[in-house]
């Protein structure tokens, strides 16, 4: 098995080299590429930092500082994606007053690449969310909410493929069950579809059909539950071909990302960085393009 994998990997890598001018064949020395993924979740309209008197997060967070951090990382590695796992709205008067306008405008200013939809993003109804979409220059990704017959119809995409330095990165969005969390008056005719089945469809498209090098799930399912409810950890176990799940909803502060074995016994990284923008998550993925690559497994430093 390992041997077959080795042959396959080697030959595929060689094929790319073979596609370049022939005198280069096998002549290339080490070539590696790095993709940086930055992520937030459950920012909940926390545009300003917490006050110095705050009992839990004194002086933490703030969009203006976050952008300084992001810009420094982009300077270090221009091949960076910036993602958010939902619940952008609700939590400070900025949302009550402006309905999410400033949240979306600032995310656009920070050049977020994509986000998914959390339950609180329905707090002004599916119409209120749709009304703010012109302020979002980033992609709103949602693969398991069917917005047919709602104002959000056509304003989301199930997935997006980003190409950074020739590396294909497929990102798809997964939302939580709305029943019990979002009143039907707000979600209107939004239909929630099974996250596991939809994720299987998404990974088939992104990995098998589109040959993405990296597949990322932006999830608002929640990290994990004591009772039987689909979560990031269970989704990771039940699926394959997802490299990274960036989670939200449960406001989980993880000391480090969790590594979960997927259905094909391959490592999946599950991460979440608390809430309110007090942390920015960073995960770097290094790729080897060397035709003589011998690596049969990746190393993970967390």
């Amino acid at each position: 098995m390992e041997r077959r994998k080795f042959i396959k990997q080697t030959s595929i890598a060689t094929a790319v080299v073979a596609g370049t001018p022939s005198f280069n064949l096998f002549a290339e020395t080490k070539k590696s590429k790095k993709i940086t993924i930055l992520h937030t979740n459950d920012v909940h309209s926390h545009i300003d930092p917490f006050s110095p008197e705050d009992a839990s997060f004194p002086n933490k967070g703030g969009v203006a500082r976050r952008l300084t951090l992001i810009e420094a990382i982009r300077k270090e590695n221009p091949n960076t994606l910036l993602l958010d796992a939902g619940d952008i709205f609700q939590g400070t008067p900025y949302f009550n007053f402006y309905g999410g306008e400033l949240e979306f405008k600032l995310m656009s200013m920070m050049q977020y690449d994509a986000a998914t939809i959390g339950n609180h993003d329905f707090d002004n109804g599916v119409n209120g969310l749709a009304a703010q979409m012109p302020n979002a220059s980033f992609k709103m990704l949602s693969s398991n909410y069917d917005f047919t017959n709602t104002a959000m119809d056509g304003l989301t995409k199930p997935y997006e493929i980003f190409i950074k330095d020739g590396i294909k990165i497929g990102v798809f969005g997964i939302g939580i069950q709305l029943e019990g969390l979002v009143t039907p008056a707000l979600s209107k005719e939004t239909q929630y579809l099974d996250p596991t089945e939809i994720s299987q469809d998404m990974t088939r498209i992104l990995k098998e059909e589109q040959n993405c090098d990296l597949v990322i799930c932006l999830s608002h399912l929640g990290y994990s539950y004591k009772y039987d409810k689909i979560s990031d950890v269970t989704l990771a176990k039940k699926t394959k071909n997802i490299d990274l799940i960036i989670g939200g909803h449960t406001h989980t502060f993880l000391e480090k990302p969790t590594i979960v074995k997927n259905a094909a016994d391959v490592d999946v990284i599950v991460n979440q960085v608390g809430w309110a923008g007090v942390n920015l998550g960073r995960i770097d993925f290094e790729f080897d393009l060397n035709g003589k690559a011998t690596a049969t497994s990746k190393t993970i430093t967390i």
Binding site: N59, A64, L67, Y94, I163, T183, G281
Partner: protein, 249 residues
């Protein structure tokens, strides 16, 4: 081995459709705390400023005055701040409900957990209303059967100071219901009752299941926070008291 290798190369070269193929070799993660040691981006600060200014102006608007702080922790059974909220809902929702339906609200039930902060002594501002009620929940009036109303009183026996108005519940030493009245009268089997609450509780919040299947329901589109703001504006001084609407003998 070499033959297999070459034929694979050939096959893939012929297919030649891979946009890119790279081998993932290394993953590394770091969590970056956003602290005050990071310089704030000035463009962002400038962009936020007018939005913040308008909020600060509106939030600091003084609506009334509170001689004493009011905390929901002064219970059990009933609290001054909870009584104020339930009475405000009763007073301000009823004209809206009556205008629409020609009927009167019989009583109000809210939830203790829905009081999100203390009302501090001093100026009562718009920010006070947002602090007490940051959520967008609105008033709904449900028409309940006498059985459902009795279920409501049973639910309240736990002693949690859920805010109520225009009803009274007296528990005996064993925490059983001694008297339960709405508008001063015992619950009549043949009657139905119009209870004002919020949409969160009506939809199963705090497991108030007796609100889930009402005979009829009127959604008032009147937010609880707006009720508080309107109530504060009407009053000069905010000084509600604990009383005997829910007590244990």
């Amino acid at each position: 081995m070499i033959r297999i290798f070459l034929s694979l190369v050939l096959t893939i070269s012929l297919l030649g459709c891979k946009d890119s193929q790279a081998t993932l070799t290394h993953i590394e993660s770091h969590q970056l705390p956003v602290t005050d040691s990071i310089q704030a981006n000035q463009d962002v600060l400038d962009y936020i400023a007018p939005y913040r200014k308008r909020i600060d102006e509106e939030m600091s608007a003084v609506l009334a005055y509170a001689p004493q702080s009011l905390s929901k922790k002064e219970g059990p059974y009933n609290t001054a701040i909870g009584n104020m909220m339930a009475d405000a809902v009763f007073k301000l929702s009823n004209p809206v409900f009556k205008k629409r339906t020609g009927k009167n609200i019989d009583a109000v039930l809210l939830n203790h957990g829905g009081i999100r902060s203390t009302l501090n002594a001093g100026d009562v501002t718009m920010r006070s209303a947002f602090d007490i009620m940051p959520f967008e929940n609105s008033v709904v009036v449900v028409e309940l059967t006498s059985d459902q109303v009795n279920e409501m009183f049973d639910y309240l026996k736990s002693g949690t100071a859920h805010p109520i108005s225009n009803m009274q519940l007296v528990l005996d030493e064993k925490n059983e219901i001694k008297t339960a009245t709405i508008n001063g009268n015992s619950v009549e089997n043949s009657k139905t009752y119009f209870i004002a609450t919020n949409d969160y509780l009506q939809q199963g919040g705090d497991h108030m299941t007796f609100l889930s299947e009402p005979l009829s329901m009127e959604v008032l589109d009147y937010k609880i926070r707006s009720i508080l703001v309107d109530y504060f504006k009407e009053q000069d001084t905010i000084a509600p008291v604990r009383d005997n609407r829910f007590i244990k003998e």
